[in-house]
Amino acid sequence: MSKETKLDQPASAPILEVRGLQKSFGSIEVLKDISFSVTQGNVVTVIGPSGSGKSTLLRCASFLETANGGDILYDGEYALKDGVYAEKKDLNRFRTRFGMVFQNFNLFPHYSVMKNICEPPMLRGCGKEEARERAAQLLQKMGLEGKEDAYPCQLSGGQQQRVAIARALALEPEILYFDEPTSALDPELTGEVLKVIRQLAADRMTMVVVTHEMAFARAVSHRVVFMADGCIVEEGSPEQVFEDPRQDRTKQFLSNYTK
């Protein structure tokens, strides 16, 4: 450990750590005792049948849903401890550490592409010139040069999703969450979005991707988490989970994809 390492952020602490996370909607238990962590530069894909709690897990990690129990830690700091959330100002601080890409993009339709990307950093005190410059770089990286002044409704779904990724990256998050980023897209557009995510993985971006794209999950992730009925059934390297799944539930699920 180098001398520069801050004491309150041990270098060993994972960026995101979830312990014993529980979430119920009414009497339905959606997450039962979920524990997993993501370290710097890793890509974790979460796979599993619909209704298994994959999205809810991301939504709890990003504070869009209120968990009922367990811990959530960012860089070793508690955002949620034993089902109790940190104070609002601390949660806002944690919010700066993650970005989220939604299934339905959720771009702001009344804003141009540029404003969609620039406004959030500017609200956090970033200068206009800097924000615009960074946005332009990100758009180039996303293959969207020249779309600065377009409105979301003028773009294809794949382009909209890439703008959404750029918008999330503009805040320079430590970790990026993807909630089924290609589920609203046809196969052709899916390809262009997955390509961008692959590129981010190559750049060592830390990511958690909930997806139904098995080939992508296998190619891009360091670890694969298989969820069913609110539990993590199996977790391991992509080779292990896809080629040699240990649990029957995993085998049964994966068999749907190999027909």
Binding site: N104, N106, H110, L171
Partner: protein, 215 residues
């Protein structure tokens, strides 16, 4: 009385008709937003009370509400606020229209997808920023056609002020009609309201067009 004199006399009421119209919009547009937000309050008591008032304001005639506001204080407290009739007229109209606007706003706000709030939350927008920057501009676009309807109705409703003898165009027209035993003043009033609404329709159309840059 020649048609020209009639038109000239009735035009004297134009200022008052416009006063009712613009002042009502000035107060009812923001008041409606407050009512809408209270109506959507998570507090069941607040939303229940507001809901009740909305049903009363939408469920009883505006003319009755106008009479209540104008003469109610006199009967209840012996207070006479009816010297300048514009005040009770604008109060009654503003409250009544705020109730209608509130329900239009509520429909607009509730039609915005939940994902917009979620994206804003993750991107660090505060609740106020989310409402002012993300939700409200989209609501304005969605409710504009319904608002055009209400504004056009308001133009015609200004004539209800005749019930308290506030001398706007219709009241003057009715006075002339009575003294001259002629139907002509009503025709003049009708043409006037039509022209007023023609302009309103055009202006609202311009607003809609300006917001057409996205869909």
């Amino acid at each position: 009385m020649s048609l020209m004199t009639m038109i000239a006399k009735m035009s004297e009421g134009l200022e008052k008709t416009c006063a009712i119209f613009f002042l009502t919009l000035l107060f009812a547009i923001p008041l409606g937003m407050i009512v809408a937000l209270l109506r959507m309050s998570k507090n069941k008591i607040i939303s229940g009370i507001v809901r009740f008032f909305i049903t009363v304001l939408r469920g009883t005639p505006l003319m009755l509400q106008l009479l209540a506001v104008t003469y109610g204080p006199h009967y209840l407290f012996g207070a006479d606020i009816s010297r300048n009739k514009l005040i009770p007229v604008v109060i009654a109209f503003s409250i009544n229209y705020a109730a209608y606007f509130a329900e239009i706003y509520r429909g607009g706000i509730e039609s915005i997808p939940k994902g917009q709030y979620e994206a804003a939350a993750v991107l660090g927008y505060s609740r106020l920023q989310t409402f002012m920057r993300i939700i409200l501009p989209q609501v304005v676009k969605r409710i504009l056609p319904s608002m055009t309807n209400e504004v056009i109705t308001l133009v015609k409703d200004t004539s209800i002020a005749f019930a308290v003898s506030y001398e706007e165009i219709f009241t003057i027209g009715k006075q002339i009609a009575n003294s001259q035993t002629s139907f002509m003043p009503f025709v003049v009033a009708g043409v006037f309201y039509y022209l007023f609404n023609f302009v309103v329709d055009r202006i609202m159309g311009l607003f809609e067009k300006r917001l057409n840059y996205y869909s």
